[in-house]
Structures are given as structure tokens and as C-alpha cells.
Subunit: 255 residues, 2 copies
């Protein structure tokens, strides 16, 4: 067989691009992808002809529009975001706080949408950003509803600490997750940064399984969890309905 590695080499070119490296020269790409300059040149050429990469006037490569068009079809990416956006906008209108939509990928949350006023400060979350499950509100909501197998696996690994408030004790994390399931909301109180609190609620798909989570992030002093929680739950229910969930459908309780 000539190449189970040929696809992997091409994908390694795409993987060379990330938030810290959104624009790369051919040399950068070959180095970051671990390819010879000749191979990188050939693969970048194919990707550029197809439209997965674009070369600017200075010879630097960026991710191209055609890749973005294909990626817009991802059910857990833009397609989810497109269904959710009206409800996220309503939540933003109701709170004027930073609003997020996130999904779980393994042991991490991936933010698929993030709305904030131009004046919003102090939050450094980007669309496409990843974060461990146990620190953020959306992560706690997704972990709490991810099934006992995921939780055991997650709690067995070391829990990274970001502030003195991050929950790093597995026994305490299990109690927090039980509370998230009981109340229907997850609160991350200064567990990511010492000046912010987030309130999250789970989004369910047609089968009742939790598919995503919605949250608001607010400055810590002055955060009104009892006021925010109903708005966040309402928005999460709206997104769930847009995904095809109906109250009573599937196994899960009402989000």
C-alpha cells in the first residue's frame, strides 16, 4: 500500500494552522507539519488550487474560503450555531452579558459561538477555543450530563487548577456535578479567572441527550446567579427545541 500516510500528510498541513498561527509561510508550514519543503510545496499547491488555503500578496498562506464553506456544514459547528443564534441573541438582549454556546469534544469544551457587546471586557474566549470540562460553566454542564463513564474517566485524571477556586478534588467535583444535574444549571464561580463567573445550562437534541451548553459570563463582583439562571435555562430550552427536542422526549429530564 503506497500511502495510508498520504492523507495524514495533507491533514498535517491543515493542522499547522491554529489560533496562534493563522498565517504561515511555506517554510513555516513545512516545519510545523514536519514535511520536507518539496512535499509541503506540493501539498500546499493542491490545497490552494482547491481553495482550502489562500495565498496573499506577500506570499503568506491563510485558511481559505472553500474550506470554510465545507466546514459550515458541520452539525456541531456553524450548523448548530445557525439554529441557536436567535436564542443566543435573545439571551444577550435580556442580559447584555457575554453569551456562549459550546459542545464537548472528549475532555474539552469547544466554543462554537460567542456573542458580546463591543464594550464587553475581560473575557478572552474565541470561537474555536478549547477549555477543560471541569473549570467552565458550559464544561460542568456537559460533564454532568455526559454519563457516568465519562465522569469516572475524567475524575481519575489530574484536574488542572486555574485559580484558587478551581475544583481540583475529584470527590468535590462529583458533588458539584450531582448538584448541576439536580438544579439544571452549572455555575463556575471564579474557577477560570478570579474576576468572572459563568452560569450554564444544557441543550438537548431530539433524542433527549445533551448535545451542547449555553452560558453567560459576567464579572464576579455583582453577579446575580438567581437572576441569570432562569434566562440561561430558557435560552438553552429554546436551542433544544430548535434542534428538535420536545419536553418529555428521550430519557433526560427537562433541561
Amino acid at each position: 500500500m503506497t500511502g495510508p500516510t498520504a492523507p495524514d500528510r495533507l491533514l498535517s498541513v491543515l493542522a499547522a494552522f491554529d489560533h496562534e498561527h493563522p498565517a504561515l509561510s511555506l517554510t513555516d508550514i513545512s516545519r510545523r507539519a514536519g514535511l520536507t519543503l518539496t512535499t509541503a510545496h506540493r501539498l500546499v499547491g493542491a490545497l490552494t488550487r482547491w481553495g482550502a488555503l489562500e495565498r496573499d500578496a506577500s506570499g503568506v498562506y491563510h485558511v481559505g474560503l472553500r474550506l470554510w464553506e465545507v466546514a459550515a456544514l458541520a452539525p456541531r459547528g456553524l450548523a448548530l450555531r445557525q439554529l441557536a443564534l436567535p436564542y443566543l441573541e435573545d439571551l444577550y438582549e435580556a442580559t447584555h452579558e457575554n453569551v456562549q454556546l459550546a459542545v464537548r469534544d472528549g475532555h474539552e469544551v469547544v466554543y462554537v459561538e460567542w456573542l458580546s457587546g463591543r464594550s464587553a471586557v475581560g473575557v478572552h474566549i474565541r470561537v474555536g477555543a478549547r477549555w477543560p470540562l471541569h473549570a467552565t460553566g458550559v464544561g460542568l454542564a456537559l460533564l454532568a450530563h455526559g454519563g457516568p463513564g465519562l465522569q469516572e474517566e475524567y475524575c481519575a485524571a489530574p484536574l488542572a487548577s486555574f485559580t484558587p477556586y478551581t475544583v481540583t478534588d475529584p470527590a468535590r467535583l462529583r458533588r458539584v456535578l450531582a448538584e448541576v444535574r439536580r438544579t439544571g444549571v452549572a455555575v463556575s464561580d471564579r474557577q477560570v479567572t478570579a474576576d468572572a463567573l459563568s452560569v450554564a445550562a444544557p441543550v438537548r437534541g431530539p433524542d433527549g441527550a445533551v448535545a451542547a451548553a449555553v452560558s453567560v459570563v459576567v464579572p464576579h463582583p455583582g453577579a446575580q446567579v438567581p437572576v441569570l439562571a432562569p434566562a440561561v435555562r430558557l435560552a438553552a430550552r429554546g436551542v433544544s427545541r430548535a434542534l428538535g427536542w420536545r419536553p418529555g422526549s428521550g430519557a433526560g429530564p427537562v433541561p
Copy 2:
């Protein structure tokens, strides 16, 4: 050389997915990509392991989250949309009409953002959708500012007709484009569908070149172009500033 075609084969698997075909079986993929089932199986396997595709419980493949994460770096896709969103939201708040952001790709516009209230009806534009330049407001704005070479090339080819109002005469299209440059706004009056009108304005990048266009689409009877035009121009200026444009920078006039 074993394979300038190896990258092309892998990309043909991604190209099998589009708005009409967002979910495909392995058989569908092999047929649409023109690959043997064995080759399709091997390439789909590599793409799935990497996260560019995801296989659901029923064995059907979708575009995956990881491809979406890489595509989020596209300067003319999500990255542009992320910068533009606050200004598009302001335009939506000011008008409560459908709001779009689009870029040019060859002779077509590609919509990279589209905001509408849940109650908005009659507009069937999706993020990632394409449309010929001469019919839509954003397309006219992008064509008018795309340089004489593009315009000559475009006017030399047949101009497709969508309604009795679509401009299909090259000489008349040239006059329309001159008017767009003079006024700073492009109006598509029932040129796409007989019940809708759009008003668009160009967005400029740091070098003053037109990089995108912003528009609102409104129902035709009752559309108030003089009222909408200043709001659309203001939003386009806001996006231009977010991209790094400053009044007087580059060659172009103020958008």
C-alpha cells in the same frame, strides 16, 4: 511521482459534502467523489480519525468539529464574521431586517454571515450560499468596486435572469455599477426574487480595497431605500474600521 492526485482524491471526499448533501453514507461519498469503495473507505477513515468527518450512530458521515475549528481561522470566513458581528447586530437592531455580510469569490458572492429575526420570512439565503454578482445588492457592491478588469470580464459573459427586474443588458449593468460607485450604495430592486429588495454598501480593508459588503434585505412593497441606505453605510464603515481601514487610507473613497 506517485501522487499529485493523492491530495486531490482526499479533497474530493470533502467536496462530496454540500448544502444539499450534508450527511452521506460511505457509498454516497464514493459515488459523489468518483472513488472506488476501497479508496473511499481508506480516505474517510483518515479524515474521521483526524476529526474532519464525524460518523453518527447510524453510520452516516457529517463534516466534523475539527475541520470547523481550522476553518474558523479563515480570514474571509469566520474571522471576518467575528470582527463584523457587533456592527451587523447594530444594523439588525436599527432595522430589524435581514442583515448579510458577503465576500466575492470569482464571479460569485459568498454569504459569510446572515442575521434574521425568528419571524423573518421569505429570504432563503444560508451562510456559505453563493449567488451571481449582478443580481444581489452585495454582489453589485463587490462588482462595482472590483476593478475595471473584473467588470469587463463579467459583462462579456451572459447575465443570468432571475426575475423580469434582473439587469441582463451589459451596457445597463455598467451604468448601474457607475451609480453604485457614485452613491456608495447598491440597490437590488426585485432582481433576485420579485418580493424583495436589498441595499448594500462596500466594506474596505486596511489598504482601502473593498474586501466585503454589508446589506439588508427587505420585503419589496414598503422598502424605504433612503432610510436604509445611511444605516447600511454606517454598518459597512464600522466593519471597515474593525478591519483596520481608516478614512483616507488607501486609494478608495470613503465607503
